[in-house]
Symmetry: C2
Subunit: 298 residues, 2 copies
């Protein structure tokens, strides 16, 4: 049995996978804030899944953790996980000390990419395009996470595509993330609604011109991200995940429409069959937790 | 002994590499125009190197060919090699028939990428950024050509980076190729000089404002290509090759200057150490022919 934990900004999902890779148990906890509380959350998750499966921590074949921020998967070091209140944490070492077994730490988007690859039964190369507060992709090649030479493969949110675009938090202008992410939408569409993206889509459906323009830029930005991923890595599949993926087919149809209009203008783009390559991650699929359970293998 | 042939638009380079991968023999021929003449050129190259090495075609450990256009390296089929007067050619099959041995066919940029990786003694992941009439990259991962799922990995020339940029031959607007390639410069800088890029650099050195602006867009376009390659594949090294690479340090310094100015504005970009990753292919290094000799191994 493999154990995987996805530590998110507010909630933590944890799963136990049986020998065939199927979901055997799942639990959800609130995520603590700050280094000590995050470690405690992970320990609680192991303990709770231990009770449900009857296994001690050492009884699991592997334990893996997906967590936001800059992760060194070799050392288990985590940095800049702002939403968790972490600046620097030796998460791998701390957990090994508490649990008495080795724990594999992975960036949450990379873990989700691996999870999506397995649970969607994909073959070939995958980019998991995570549309959350930011925009980043996790790459899977031959069933393994592809990290690149310095661990930043897939950081496409900071590829600029418009010299006259908005200033990005990274210091550049017109990055993909400024139009195709939760933070990009929040900057453009001011609202008191606790779900600003849904509010934007509702306003656009009601005919609000500004909302329609922002929504169109979102779709074009996602389509641009797909194009970048195909023209560089030539991934067979782009799976859209992250918070914005909960918009479901409303989002996917917008993206398909942009890609189809591009194909009309460019026989070259048409030959790439971009619309065929884009899919949504299944709703509620726990891709990051499942991927975290599997990174132990890598 | 391995034999590699680089079939270019006007000339064909061919090399024989010894068992240790060192250059044993090299020849240069004029390239014939059209399917029959291209096949004849390759056969002549094998025959001439056979005389110099004392080996029959079947005596070489492998024979590989690098050629422009869309290449199916499995079938040996070549399409759309416009400069060679080829629309479609079963080059692998034709040559096997003429030579009595199997021949591996590879796209010339991909072959050059592999050749550069070997002759420059690189480790890790490489992008060979070919700046010729067009712009494309060849990727090498773990010492092997990375083709992607459908053979179009590295076709970054058609990533648009400016919605208000020039219309590209591919039907899109503002592609990297419209500013950072020989054709992009020829469109912007009209001249009767047989070497338009050198004429552009000379005019820029003389203070011509338009020439300076075109040269600046060239450097920014190359820098953008480097950024795209690092933020997607996270290549350790970007080697600049192709016709424009003959500009040498004049070009490399311009690119470094752009990357340094970006790093000033963006701590994120600064952390990527982009200037350290960019190098020029050694002048006259026959990277494509050497790579063609090595694709036989892949």
């Amino acid at each position: 049995m493999r154990l995987g934990i996805d530590i998110g900004g507010t909630k933590t999902d944890a799963v136990a996978l049986d020998e065939t890779g199927r979901l055997a148990q799942r639990i959800r906890l609130a995520t603590g804030f700050g280094s000590a509380a995050v470690v405690e959350t992970a320990v609680s998750a192991v303990s709770r899944l231990g009770e449900l499966t009857g296994l001690a921590a050492s009884g699991f074949e592997s334990i893996g953790i997906g967590i936001p921020g800059l992760v060194d998967s070799t050392s288990g070091h985590v940095a800049h996980a702002v939403n968790l209140g972490l600046d620097r944490l030796e998460l791998g070492g701390e957990l090994a000390g508490r649990l008495g077994v080795g724990v594999r730490i992975e960036n949450d988007v990379k873990a989700a990419a691996l999870g999506a690859w397995h649970l969607m039964g994909l073959t070939g190369t995958l980019a998991y395009l995570n549309l959350g507060t930011g925009l980043a992709a996790g790459l899977v090649v031959d069933g393994r996470v592809w990290r690149g030479s310095r661990g930043i493969a897939g950081e496409i949110g900071h590829i600029p595509v418009d010299p006259n675009g908005a200033l990005c938090a990274c210091g550049q202008r017109g990055c993909l993330e400024t139009v195709a992410s939760g933070s990009g939408i929040a900057r453009q569409w001011r609202t008191d609604d606790p779900l600003p993206v849904r509010a934007l889509f509702a306003a656009a459906a009601d005919g609000d011109e500004e909302a329609r323009a922002i929504k169109a830029r979102l779709a074009a930005g996602i389509a641009s991200a797909v194009r970048v991923l195909v023209l560089t890595v030539d991934v067979e599949t782009v799976v859209i995940g992250g918070g914005l993926s909960h918009l479901g087919d409303r989002l996917l149809c917008d993206v398909h429409e942009v890609l189809a209009s591009w194909a009309q203008a460019s026989p070259f783009l048409a030959s790439l069959a971009l619309p065929d390559r884009v899919r949504l991650v299944p709703e509620g699929s726990l891709a990051a937790a499942i991927g975290a359970a599997l990174v132990g293998e890598n």
